[in-house]
Symmetry: C2
C-alpha cells in the first residue's frame, strides 16, 4: 500500500499550495465558514455528537505502552469533559516511534506527502468535531474555534507541508555527473551516478498550548512528519482532546496506508509529571516545536541541545497611534482586536501608544483621553449584550488570566473595567470583558512585560517619535508577534516600518476595516518572524522546514 495513490489523489491541492506559498496572495484550502451551505446540513450536528461521545469516556486510542488512563482537562465553559487518555512512559513512546521510522523514511517525499494530505483531508472531514473540542478546551467561541482551531489550522498545516515538500524535492533524487576529460588526470570524462536521499532527523516532539491546541501544533507536526520524522504530540494538560482527535485520525490514515501508526503518538501527561521535559532531552528526539511560556521555551532552548528547537513564547504587542483619517474605524478595529477571545491570543495588542497631546483625526483633534475613551467605547459596544459578547470573547482559559485581571486593578488609571458576563448557554463559563488601563510612558516596568489576557494599556507618550522608541525598546527586549500603526503621514508610516524592520516585528498599517492585527492568513502572512525574542521561527518559511531533514548521498561510477 505504500504507493503513490494518495499523492495522486491530493496532487492538485499540493500544486495549488506550492503556488500559494510562492505568491503569498490570498488562498485557502479549507473553507472557514461553518455554514451548512458549505459543509452540509448535518455536519454541525454530527460534529457535536462525535464530540459528546468522547465525554466521560476513554478516548479511543490504541497506543503501545499504555500504563494507565488519565484525565486532566477542565473546560473554560464549565462543561464536564472527563475524557481519559492513555498514558505511557517516555521510553515506550520513543521506542515505538523509533521502530516506525525506517519504512516511513524509505517511502520518500511523494508517498509521505500523499499520506499527510490524506490526514489533513480526514481531519477536515471531522472539522466540526475538532471545532467542538477546541471550543470546550480553549474557551474560544464556536465560530472562532471552527476557524482558528479547524480551517485555519488545516491551512497552516498545509502551508508547512508545502514548504517541506518543496524543500525535499528541490534537488533531484538522482543526478548524473559527467566531468569533461582533463588534460592530465583523466583522458576520458569521469562519470558518476549520484543518489540523494532525504533522511529524517529523528523523532519530532510537538508541545501544544492551551489556547490554540491545533493551530500552533499543526505546522510543526506536519512539517516534521512529512519530512520523515515520527512525531510525539504532547498536548497541554488542559487541551488534550483536540490533539487526541488529531492523533486518532492521523494514526487511522497511516495504518490504512500501510504504515506503522506509531509514527504519530499522543503523550498526555499526568499532573506534575513534566513529561515534556523528560521527552525533550531524550537523545532520540531531534526536533521540538513548542508554543507557550517564555520560561519553558527558554528551558527547552537551553537544555534540549540534541534537538532543533522551534519556540513561540511571550511578547509585547504594540499599536502606535499617530493620527487617522477614520477615527471611528480605528477605534472599532482596535476594540475588536482587544475583545476577540478576551485578548488571549499571542497576537493581541497590549500597548496602545498615543501622544499625550492627542492626535489629528477626520473628526478633528482628539485628546489622549478621547482616543482612550473611543477604544473603550468600541469594546463596550462589542461586549454590551451578553449573548453577542460571548460569541466574541469566548471564555477565560485559566486562572492565570483571572489573577492578572485582579492584579491590574491596582495599577494605573482605569479606562475600562473588566466585567463578568453570564454566559447565556453555559452557566459555568468564566467570561470576562477587556480591561483597559492608562499608563504614563515611564511605567515601562508595568507595560514592558506581557499581560496575557484581556488587559491592555493606553500609554501617554511625548510624541509619536517617543512611541516608536518605546516600541523599539519593548519589542527588542521582550519580543512581539504583531505591531500596528495608525497615521495619515507617510513619513510616520515609513518610520514605523523602519522600526519594525530593526526589531523584526511584522507591521500592520491603518487597519480600520475587516482585517485585524491579531489575525494572520496562512499562505500570505508570516506569523512571527523569528527575528525577535517572541519566537525563534516563523510560520512558515524555508527556515522552518529546511532543518527537519538532511540529504545523504551515494555515488558510483557509471559507464555509458
Amino acid at each position: 500500500m505504500t504507493d503513490r495513490h494518495l499523492y495522486d489523489k491530493h496532487a492538485d491541492t499540493l500544486v495549488r499550495a506550492l503556488a500559494a506559498i510562492s505568491e503569498r496572495g490570498y488562498w485557502s484550502a479549507y473553507p472557514e465558514s461553518p455554514s451548512p451551505r458549505i459543509y452540509g446540513e448535518k455536519a454541525a450536528a454530527e460534529g457535536a455528537t462525535a464530540f459528546q461521545a468522547y465525554l466521560d469516556n476513554r478516548f479511543p486510542l490504541d497506543q503501545p505502552g499504555t500504563d494507565g488512563w488519565i484525565a486532566t482537562e477542565a473546560s473554560p465553559f464549565g462543561v464536564e469533559l472527563a475524557v481519559t487518555y492513555p498514558h505511557a512512559e517516555a521510553g515506550a513512546l520513543v521506542a515505538a516511534a523509533t521502530a516506525a521510522m525506517p519504512a516511513w523514511r524509505d517511502a520518500g517525499p511523494q508517498v509521505r506527502a500523499g499520506v499527510c494530505l490524506e490526514i489533513l483531508a480526514r481531519l477536515h472531514a471531522h472539522v466540526f468535531e475538532l471545532a467542538n473540542a477546541v471550543q470546550f478546551t480553549s474557551g474560544q467561541a464556536f465560530v472562532m474555534a471552527f476557524q482558528a482551531g479547524g480551517a485555519h489550522a488545516l491551512d497552516r498545516a498545509l502551508e508547512a507541508l508545502a514548504y517541506a515538500y518543496a524543500e525535499m524535492t528541490r534537488h533531484p533524487g538522482e543526478a548524473e555527473w559527467e566531468k569533461p576529460a582533463g588534460s592530465k588526470a583523466s583522458a576520458e570524462p569521469l562519470r558518476l551516478l549520484k543518489r540523494f536521499h532525504v533522511v529524517p532527523r529523528g523523532i519530532g516532539l510537538v508541545v501544544g498550548c492551551n489556547t490554540f491546541p491545533t493551530w500552533n501544533s499543526y505546522p510543526g507536526l506536519f512539517a516534521s512528519l512529512v519530512t520523515g520524522n515520527p512525531v510525539i504530540v504532547k498536548p497541554h494538560p488542559r487541551a488534550v482532546l483536540p490533539l487526541a482527535i488529531t492523533v486518532r485520525y492521523a494514526r487511522e490514515v497511516l495504518a490504512e496506508a500501510g504504515f506503522d501508526p506509531n509514527l504519530v503518538l499522543l503523550a498526555p501527561e499526568a499532573p506534575g509529571e513534566a513529561l515534556a521535559s523528560t521527552l525533550a532531552v531524550r537523545p532520540e528526539v531531534k526536533i521540538i516545536d513548542y508554543t507557550g511560556s517564555t520560561a519553558f521555551g527558554e528551558w527547552l532552548e537551553e537544555n534540549a541541545r540534541q534537538a532543533v528547537v522551534y519556540t513561540e513564547k511571550a511578547g509585547v504587542n504594540t499599536i502606535v497611534v499617530d493620527s487617522t483619517d477614520d477615527f471611528a474605524g480605528m477605534c472599532r478595529n482596535i476594540g475588536f482586536s482587544l475583545t476577540l477571545y478576551s485578548g488571549q491570543m499571542c497576537t493581541t495588542p497590549q500597548n496602545v501608544l498615543v501622544p499625550a497631546g492627542g492626535i489629528g483625526t477626520d473628526q478633528g483633534h482628539k485628546s489622549f483621553d478621547e482616543v482612550a475613551a473611543g477604544i473603550a467605547a468600541s469594546v463596550g459596544k462589542l461586549t454590551g449584550d451578553p449573548a453577542r459578547a460571548v460569541e466574541l470573547t469566548g471564555a477565560i482559559v485559566n486562572d492565570g488570566v483571572l489573577d492578572r485581571l485582579d492584579e491590574v486593578k491596582s495599577i494605573g488609571e482605569p479606562v475600562l473595567d473588566s466585567r463578568v458576563v453570564e454566559h447565556p448557554a453555559y452557566e459555568g463559563a468564566i467570561v470576562r470583558t477587556p480591561a483597559i488601563v492608562k499608563l504614563p510612558a515611564d511605567a515601562e516596568a508595568t507595560y514592558g512585560k506581557e499581560w496575557f489576557g484581556p488587559i491592555s494599556f493606553v500609554i501617554a507618550t511625548d510624541s509619536t517619535a517617543e512611541s516608536l522608541e518605546i516600541f523599539r525598546s519593548t519589542a527588542g527586549t521582550r519580543g512581539a508577534i504583531t505591531a500596528s500603526v495608525y497615521s495619515t503621514d507617510d513619513k510616520v508610516l515609513d518610520d514605523a516600518e523602519a522600526a519594525a524592520l530593526d526589531v523584526g516585528v511584522h507591521l500592520s498599517c491603518n487597519l480600520t476595516g475587516g482585517v485585524f492585527v491579531n489575525q494572520s492568513a496562512a499562505f500570505s502572512d508570516f506569523h512571527a518572524s523569528g527575528a525577535n525574542p517572541a519566537a525563534n521561527a516563523a510560520l512558515t518559511d524555508g527556515a522552518y522546514v529546511a532543518s527537519r531533514f538532511r540529504i545523504v548521498q551515494s555515488r558510483r561510477h557509471t559507464t555509458s
Copy 2:
C-alpha cells in the same frame, strides 16, 4: 552607486548557478586548471609576485580600531612569511560591522548578490595570488592550493550564494491579498498590499581553519554577506594571508559599489588572545561558521547561544572493502586518497575495514595482508620519487600532525612507515609520507577516534557484516564526512548504503578511477551531511542558508 549594474553584469553566472544547484550535475564557474592556456601566460608569475610583495610587510588593510600589527604565521614549507596584520579589539570590529549593516540590508537581495558576485570575480582575477597564499600557509602543494584554495573555493562560495539568493527571492517583495467578500463580516472584498522584507540576523562570524582557509570559510562568508549580514572573518593564526587577501578585495569591491567596506572585516588574533571566543559570545554576533577541532566546535555550540552556529568538526572516515573487480584500481584509488595533502583533509579515509579472511578480486582471492600491502604499495609508488611526492603530499601543516605520527609508531603492526622527504625546492619544508598500521577489530579505542594527518588503519574484521557494524558504530559516535565501499555484490552495496543512511554519511561506491572519496564537487556533491557528529550542516543546502535572514512583513489596506 547602489544600483543593479553589478547584478546585471553577473546575472548569467547567477542564473547558471541556480540551475546547477537544482540539477546537481557537473558544473563549475571557475576553471580548476592553472594552465596558461586558460589563465594566460603571465597570470602565474603575476600571482607569485603579488604574493611575494605581501611578505615581510604590513598587509594593506585599512580597518577601523587598529591598535597594533601582529604576525602569527609559520609556513609548512619553511618559507619566512613575516606578514603583519592590523589587530583590533572585538568591540571596535563589532561596532564597525553594526554601523555598516542598515544600508546593506536596505539594498535588497539583487544589489547584494551583484556585489558579492563581483567580489568573487575580483578574487578569481587574483586566484594565483590566493593560491600562493593558501599553499604557503596550509602546506598544500601548488596545484591543490590553486584548485581547493582557489577555483573550488570560489565554486563553493558561488554555490552558497546561489542557495541564499534562491531562498531570499522565493517570495515576492510585494503581494496583493484580496479575500473574497464574506457573508457576514465583510460585504466587500478585503484588500491588503503586503511587503516582505529580507532582514539580516546580525553579524556573521567566520572562524577559519589552518588547512583549508578559503574553501571552508567562503560558503559561510558569502552566505551570510549576501543575506545582509556584515561578516567578521577570524582566520586561523597560522593561515591568515588567504583570508586577508579575501577581505582586502571584498572591501575594495564594497567600497567601489558605494557600501561601507566594514561589511567585511579581518580579525587576526594575537597569540593566546582567544579572539574567536570573545567575538562568538557578543550579543551582536548572530551567525557563526566554524571549521576545526571538535572541542572548540562544541564549545561554540554550547556557549554562543545567541547565534546560529554551523560547525564542521572531527570525524572518522571509513572504507569498507568487501570485494572488487579491479584490485589494482582500488589500491591505486585508496592509495591516492591517503597520500593527497598527506591525509590532512577532513575527507581523508582513516579506517580501512577488510575481512580477516581476505577478499575476492579480479586477480583471484587476496588475503587481508595482500590487501593491506596493495594499498601500501600504491602509496609507496606515489611517494617514491621526492619531486613527484611533494606535489601530492604538500607539507605537514603543524606539529600536532607530527606528534600523532610519532605516537602511532607504538601502536599496532606497521604496514607502511611514514618517511621524511626532502623537498627539492624548499629546504625548510616538513614533508612526511603516509603511515599505515594494521589493527584488530577490537582496537576501537585506537581507530574509533580521529588521527588527523597521514595516518590510516587497515582493520581486520570477521566479515563485511562486521565491517558495516564498525562503520555504523564509529560514524554514529564520532561522526564522519566520507565513507566508501568496495564490493562486486549489489547486496553489500545496498547494505552499505542502508548503513550510510542510518548514520547520515555520504557514501562512494567502487571508486577505482579518477574520482576520489576525499573530493566533493561543488554544485553536485554535498559536503558533510549535518546528520552525524562530524558536522551540523552541509555544504550547501537550504538548511545552510535559510536561517541567515528573516522575513519581516508590513501590510496596509489598498483600494482599487
